[in-house]
């Protein structure tokens, strides 16, 4: 392994940054070599599912020691990531599941999470997948709902919708999400009929509300910097009232499945507006693979008066021709207007910054990003603005008491999987014990299927939030210290007393080299040959740490420090190392590791670093 970039850390002297004025940082400021190292790690932890020695070396080797060209290098890296062939979750997951088991019905639901873990850990289009993960926490659907869980291929294609638009335009993403059948099921605008005059029956308002409240403009009017606009009495001005909801509900009428299945499970045209949202999931799942279509008899073509932005009210005139195309154009007009609403750019930009970089971006940071988001939601410009912003790249923020974000369980785990080379015995490619997965060349060499499962006890199940409000609120502020300071920490909504212990225990399982979920013995029969229960076991590469211990010269304390510094460098951008003169955390881990038996040593260092208070923060 390449050990050079990090060994340089050991001889550099910590630069005191206390005198640097936070806001005085400029892009042209000259960095120390140590600060460049730190910045590269921080960038990778913001833009991927975790920095690795390879990804670090590759980027660092292109950057001058004073950091002067780093933004150009990052920019090029982003361009390269955008140019990567996008992973396709649907084809990958289908091939992975059919590659290992004949029991497709059970596997479809049981094995789905493995595909996400594998993609996050080993796919080459890291930035795209990281952005898709962020979007999946904004445009939320959830497998907590049985109908969504049963529509497993719909969930994959929904993921692909997010990742395919990750560098496109938010307005197009919003349109595709709005007509995706799984969203139709989740927020119940599938088979939503128009009002029936005289019966007191009115359209479902569910999607109408959440597409505004959560997917675009938010509840209150905002300036470009995210601040709330108030009226003369100091009250926030709502972005809409209930009459707008009622109008929006009429927009999302007449949609239903465009495909259905015949008795052989073959895909056929759907001709019936009212369909069960829980058809048998073993009939090919064809109905989930195509966008919803319009049933003209059920769409409301009358005039609709919708939301007002900057004094202009969106009014949709009554349709002259009652065609499916006209109805879809109406929906597109609305989703375009939602993306262009003046409150959408700051609202969505802030949450994207929170998911990638920091929970508490300054108004100026939000404004710079929202400016790039602009009217159509230019996602490439938005993502670049988020990652390359002076606030994201300010080296002094490493020492801030509030910059950054808490790593939610999925990110903490994928950071570890990538760094510790987690793998099973089932390879994605064509070798022996390979499953010849679709697009296996989109993954890192030697990638394996990580048979890990839901890990639901971590409190965060990928694509399985408790509700459309995600796992945590963007405004969650723990009572006490953080609330007093006006600081939000969304991910800490998951860090309850009990949950914290559960997560601790998951890390102990990981360090015991057995993160795989347990397979009942009789399940082995449904695995395709030649795979065994052992092949399915997922563990980490302990040799990685052994080689550091063995190759470090000196006593056990020096060897322990080398182990800690390795983990700390990639997980914490070297924070513990930089604080080594005073860090109680580091010395406590050193003591434990240096005094451990060989059998306990590597578990001790992993548990020590992973659970450290400092490691919880993505700086």
């Amino acid at each position: 392994m390449n050990f050079l970039p990090f060994s340089r850390l050991l001889i550099t002297i910590k630069i005191c940054c206390l005198l640097c004025i936070h806001s005085a940082f400029a892009q042209s400021q000259s960095l120390t070599s140590e600060q460049v190292d730190t910045d590269v790690i921080r960038f990778l932890n913001q833009a991927t599912f975790g920095a690795t020695p390879e990804s670090f070396t590759s980027l660092r080797s292109q950057i001058a020691n004073d950091g002067s060209n780093r933004l150009a290098i990052y920019d090029q890296w982003i361009n390269d990531q955008i140019a990567q062939t996008p992973s396709n979750m649907d084809t990958f997951c289908n091939s992975a599941i059919t590659g290992i088991t004949s029991d497709i019905q059970r596997a479809a639901i049981r094995d789905v999470p493995d595909c996400y873990w594998t993609t996050f850990t080993s796919a080459k289009d890291q930035l795209r997948q990281r952005v898709a993960f962020a979007l999946s926490q904004i445009l939320v659907i959830s497998t907590q709902q049985v109908a969504v869980r049963s529509a497993y291929r719909g969930v994959f294609t929904y993921w692909d919708t997010l990742s395919n638009h990750a560098f496109g335009e938010y307005k197009n993403l919003l349109y595709d999400v709005s007509i995706h059948p799984v969203m139709g099921v989740w927020l119940s605008h599938i088979s939503n009929p128009k009002a029936v005059p005289g019966t007191g029956i009115y359209p479902d308002e569910n999607y109408a509300r959440e597409v505004m409240q959560l997917f675009s403009m938010g509840l209150v009017q905002r300036r470009l910097d995210g601040s709330v606009i108030t009226d003369d009495n100091g009250n926030p001005i709502p972005t809409y009232d209930n009459s707008v909801i009622e109008g929006m509900a009429r927009v999302f009428t007449g949609l239903s499945f465009s495909r259905w299945f015949d008795s052989n499970g073959e895909s056929i045209e759907n001709t019936s507006f009212n369909r069960s949202v829980r058809p048998p999931f073993n009939r090919g799942q064809n109905q989930w693979l195509a966008p919803m279509k319009i049933f003209t008899s059920q769409h409301d073509y009358d005039e609709k008066v919708l939301f007002t932005d900057k004094g202009v009210t969106l009014t949709l005139p009554a349709a002259t021709e009652k065609t499916a195309l006209a109805a879809l154009e109406e929906i597109q007009t609305v989703t375009n207007a939602l993306a262009a609403h003046s409150s959408t750019a700051p609202y969505i930009s802030r949450i994207l910054i929170q998911r990638l970089v920091t929970s508490n971006p300054s108004p100026q940071y939000i404004e710079r990003v929202a400016t790039q988001f602009a009217n159509n939601g230019d996602m490439t410009a938005t993502i670049k603005a988020i990652l390359l912003d002076p606030e994201a790249r300010d080296p002094n923020n490493v020492n801030s008491d509030r910059f950054g974000k808490v790593k939610e369980p999925v990110l903490m785990l994928t950071n570890l999987f990538r760094l510790l080379e987690a793998q099973s015995g089932i390879y994605l490619d064509q070798r022996e014990f390979g499953i010849n997965a679709a697009n296996f060349d989109n993954f890192e060499q030697d990638a394996t299927l990580l048979r890990i499962g839901l890990l639901s006890n971590t409190g965060q199940q990928i694509m399985g939030a408790p509700s459309v409000f995600n796992f945590y609120s963007p405004n969650f502020s723990p009572a006490g210290l953080l609330a007093d300071e006006g600081i939000v920490a969304p991910e800490q909504q998951l860090q309850t007393d009990n949950q914290l212990i559960s997560v601790f225990n998951y890390y102990h399982r990981l360090t015991n080299n057995s993160l795989s979920r347990s397979f009942p013995v009789n399940e082995q029969n449904s695995f395709l040959l030649p795979f065994t229960v052992d092949n399915h076991k997922t563990g980490w590469n302990q040799q990685l740490l052994e080689s550091i211990w063995n190759s470090t010269e000196g006593d056990n304390i020096i060897k322990a420090e080398a182990l800690i510094d390795f983990l700390d460098f990639y997980l914490n951008a070297g924070f513990l190392h930089a604080e080594r003169a005073t860090s109680v955390t580091r010395s406590a881990i050193v003591k434990n590791v240096s005094e451990s038996t060989e059998a306990a040593r590597y578990k001790a260092v992993l548990n020590g670093v992973i659970n450290a208070p400092e490691t919880q923060i993505q700086r």
């Binding site: 007191g200 109680v584 881990i589």
Partner: protein, 481 residues
Amino acid sequence: MAIDKSRRSLLKYSGLLGLQKFVVPSSALLASNLVSAATDNFKALVFINLAGGNDSFNMVAPKEPGILRDNYESGRRSVALNADLMKPVTALNAPKIFNGVDYNGFGFHPNCGDMADMFNNQELAVISNAGNLVAPVTRTQYLNNSVALPPQLFSHSDQARQLQSQPMLQSQFGWGGKMLEILTGVSGVNISGSPVSPLISLNGLNTFQTTESGLLNIYAMNPGKIPRIISNIRATADMYTTYMSTPTNHLMSRNYQERFFSATNAQVALSTVFDDADASTVNYDEIFSNNNATSTNLGRQLQSVAKIISGRETLNNDRTIFYVRLGGFDTHKDLLSTQASLMKQLNGALKAFRDTLVELNCFDNVTTLVSSEFGRTFAPNSTTNSAGTDHAWGGNFLVMGGAVNGGNFYGTYPDLRIGEELDSDDRQGRGRWIPQTSVSQCGAVLANWFGVPEENLPELFPNLANFDSPFSVNANLNFMA
């Protein structure tokens, strides 16, 4: 109540330093906590949040023929319940109904038979058409926007937060958390000195139990056993103790450290409580299983609540507030089928909880409030049997317990006339009922039972003065003995 921040941080850090003695289970430590609490002084409030907006006008609805049943059927159409299947309840006093309608033929949802029995047995009461309100408001005032309204009506997140705190834009605290803060200053009530917070959530962090000062934190746990850190290596445990007890620079790291303490401090005592409960003569599993509540989400939460209550002497808190949550009520589609299973779950869990508390001899000490962020549109959104209902406003709450004046309807039940005085919806007339009773009034009655003096109630509910006194005849909220 002014908060002395320096005092708070002092307490916190004395807590930090105190960690060491709690990390390793110590029987001596437990013994020191077994100061006998005065059991008869014990009170618990259980807040059950039916999340998503319970369609509670199908939980409690007109059953017998009459004008109210006629209005019910013409308004609810495809989502009206079959009267023959509903469970009859007879109120001791004639229910107060809007516009003076004379009617006493209500029923509970067909799957709520045990709840109906509890009502008829005077162990459970209905609070009609309650909801978030800043001040009383009529339909005309609502449509003219001439009275202050709760911000973001009909939005889940806002209305759920307001239900648990105040009808305001932002919440500093929930009324559950604040109640305990006030009680720390009331003599004769002991809620300190326990390693376990008196604010216990079975479903994550929530607004309801959030305190203003942050001095008391929410202990959030999953139902069932208390997890223990599985490291059995002493050196590793010592390492955690060392680095968790040294405040770090980053505020979020500090919060993580505090959660670690709270968890490790509580787990010893709570594990003991669960072990004691399982070893006791009370057969929790049998009681819950008799009510089909052993493996349901709500049943599992309430079984844990009951076990914690059984350990009230060990935990040494005179007051405990529990937060329990059941989701799935956002029935924009399939109201009838979805609600049927949810009501079945609610019924079984409440009955099992009640039976357990009776066996623990503390049914009189525990009051349970069943509420939801809003009711749903009286008019459905489809003519088919998969019809759902949308977000609305007022809804029916339930209170259960030995201290409840059960067998009665409190507040004012709507006359159920779409598009008329109580309907806030003028465009379509969907039956979004304007609440006639505020959450603040209901909360004030419960807080007062819990021990909060009347003069402190405005601290909990700053808008309380806008309404009839919750203790007045007009308010009709005399639901606590």
